[in-house]
């Protein structure tokens, strides 16, 4: 039943409460569509049909009694980077073969407490390292969008999440964002994705990539659904020492759509000489629409922007090389022990077989920049440049309330795209990485279709812990843009 799946999360929530349909019906409609679409799309690594139907039944019982949480009975997809109790959790890596966590991540627990129903675990780039969802051990994910009938990447690393939401296989999916992994796939798939301020969402139970950057966030089809989901996900957690003690607003209630007098910064460094003209045009239209809605547009400068990617590719690999040291063939996952081999053989063979190329390369770069003799030149230097990048934002936010930029430098590309070197692929995150380094909230919303009929995203960046302003500005812009394009080939 297609109509149930095209509802927004808010409409599902309200319809469930009004008993227009049941949570079991809703879950079943999604599960049927997922099972049909997945062999081709590969968005899900694990489909949890029995668990979903059991959770939905419990939700229906609660709703019947007039009880239930903020999203009672709403089906949700979970990026397979979140630990889910007794459900296979892979991080899309061979090295986590068979891992069924005996605990639940804080973020997923919060969603279940609020009444969410788990449909399954979504594909991603291995350990969230990638921008096209082509590094997964479980295979590439195909975007529901196509170019001249040709398959496209969904972006990454939350590629399965973005593809599933865009194809109406779930109204909301969990993503994580380290350098753009929520916003860039949302941009590629024509949907909404928000990365909150670092510290808003607990990292407990999320497979760690780069701990000073990783943040969870929702991927949805509109801004209201993102606001609803984010309110459920945020909040202090004693199990994450960087989680902040701060009240979580009801973000949905703060969506007024009124941005009169809002000061919107336009950073000149995000318009380099070689900028894609379609991206520039979409950005200009966004600026114009914000003006028309009463916002004050102000030119700003973020002078260290061009150094953000190089900074990120020191800091993120450094942190990943430490975090991924735990995969050693002893405590969980894959073990490769050659006949007669010793402990070191086991470590080295397990990690050689268990990690994919992108992950190995990042671990080795991280190991190198942290090694004796290079630590000062690379790692310390990058941390200092990171401070300068963050300071650029601090200075800019003295003059503006939000910053408007494109999300990604291009539309989604095909699987035949072969970068000549890894850096070329890293450039996908050129507009999202600075926000991550500064720990600020950023949202991507669909801005326009390009000449090939593919979505392009606009990014709004806010002050630390001012997700409310980011969401409201995005909400106003979403209304003004009126983007309602759907992928050409929908899941049946």
């Amino acid at each position: 039943m297609t109509s149930l799946r095209t509802l927004t999360l808010a409409e599902m929530r309200d319809g469930l409460k009004a008993k227009k349909f049941s949570s079991v019906e809703l879950a079943a409609a999604h599960l049927d569509a997922i099972e049909k679409a997945n062999p081709e799309m590969n968005a899900f690594i694990t489909i949890t049909r029995d668990k979903a139907l059991a959770m939905a039944k419990t939700s229906d019982e609660k709703i019947a009694k007039g009880e239930g949480g903020a999203i009672e009975g709403v089906p949700i997809g979970v990026k397979d980077l979140f630990a889910t109790r007794d459900v296979l959790t892979t991080a899309a890596s061979h090295i986590l073969d068979g891992f069924k966590p005996p605990y639940e991540s804080t973020i997923t627990q919060k969603l279940w407490n609020a009444g969410g129903v788990m449909l399954g675990k979504l594909n991603l780039d291995e350990f969230a390292m990638g921008s096209a969802n082509i590094t997964s051990y479980y295979g590439t994910v195909k975007s529901p969008w196509k170019k001249d009938g040709k398959a496209l990447v969904p972006g990454g690393s939350s590629g399965g999440s973005a593809a599933a939401v865009a194809a109406d296989l779930c109204p909301m999916a969990l993503g994580t964002d380290t350098g753009g992994s929520i916003r860039q796939p949302a941009s590629f798939c024509g949907i909404v994705g928000i990365k909150p301020t670092y510290g808003r969402c607990s990292r407990f139970g999320t497979v760690a990539f780069a701990s000073s950057l990783d943040q969870a966030g929702p991927i949805t089809r509109n801004v209201r659904d993102a606001a609803i989901s984010l309110s459920v996900m945020c909040g202090h957690d004693a199990k994450d020492s960087t989680s902040v003690k701060m009240d979580v607003p009801d973000f949905e209630k703060l969506l007024t759509g009124n941005i009169k007098g809002l000061r919107v910064g336009i950073p000149k460094e995000y318009r380099p000489g070689g900028i894609n003209p379609e991206i520039a045009q979409m950005w200009d239209r966004g600026i114009q629409l914000m003006k028309e809605a009463g916002a004050e547009v102000i030119d700003i400068s973020l002078p260290h922007t061009s150094y953000a990617l190089a900074t990120y590719y020191v800091i993120a690999p450094a942190e990943c090389s430490s975090n991924l040291a735990r995969y050693d063939g002893v405590k969980f996952g894959l073990r490769v022990l050659p006949e007669g081999g010793g402990l070191t053989d086991m470590y080295e063979m397990t990690r050689a077989a268990g990690f994919g190329n992108e992950v190995k390369r990042r671990i080795m770069i991280g190991t190198y920049v942290l090694s004796a003799g290079y630590y000062d030149a690379y790692y310390k230097k990058a941390q200092r440049v990171r401070w300068l990048i963050a300071n650029d934002f601090t200075e800019a936010f003295k003059k503006v309330d939000v910053i408007l930029t494109p999300t990604a430098p291009s539309a989604a590309f095909g699987f035949d795209y072969k970068p000549t070197n890894p850096v070329e692929m890293y450039l996908n995150d050129v507009f999202t990485v600075p926000t991550s380094l500064a720990g600020l909230p950023g949202i991507s919303i669909p801005g326009a279709l390009n000449k090939d009929g593919l979505p392009l995203g606009l990014q709004l960046i806010g002050k630390a812990f001012d997700e409310a302003a980011v969401l409201n500005a995005a909400y106003a812009l979403e209304q003004a843009i009126g983007f309602n394009a759907k992928p050409m080939e929908k899941a049946a």
Binding site: Y378, L388, N421
Partner: protein
Amino acid sequence: MALTKQEVTKIARLARIRVTDEEKDHYAKEISGILQWIEQLQEVKTDGVPQMVSVADIRLPWREDKVTDGNQQEAVVKNAPQSDYGCFVVPKVIE
């Protein structure tokens, strides 16, 4: 900064990742390219600039030093590739 094959061998050893001779050449080339690109950071003047360790403007929280969890031996070893008597089993380390 170009990495030599010996340096790749050393890094791979530190990272506990077994690499073949062929892979060493490949990684030397690829990682050198990335490091050359990262070199651009040297242009940035950072005298007197603090090192940013975390964006979280908070001091690590303190808590009372008491046990809040435990008796989870079964859960702890449940996912181990090999365990016996509630312990992780690894190849013999000491002769």
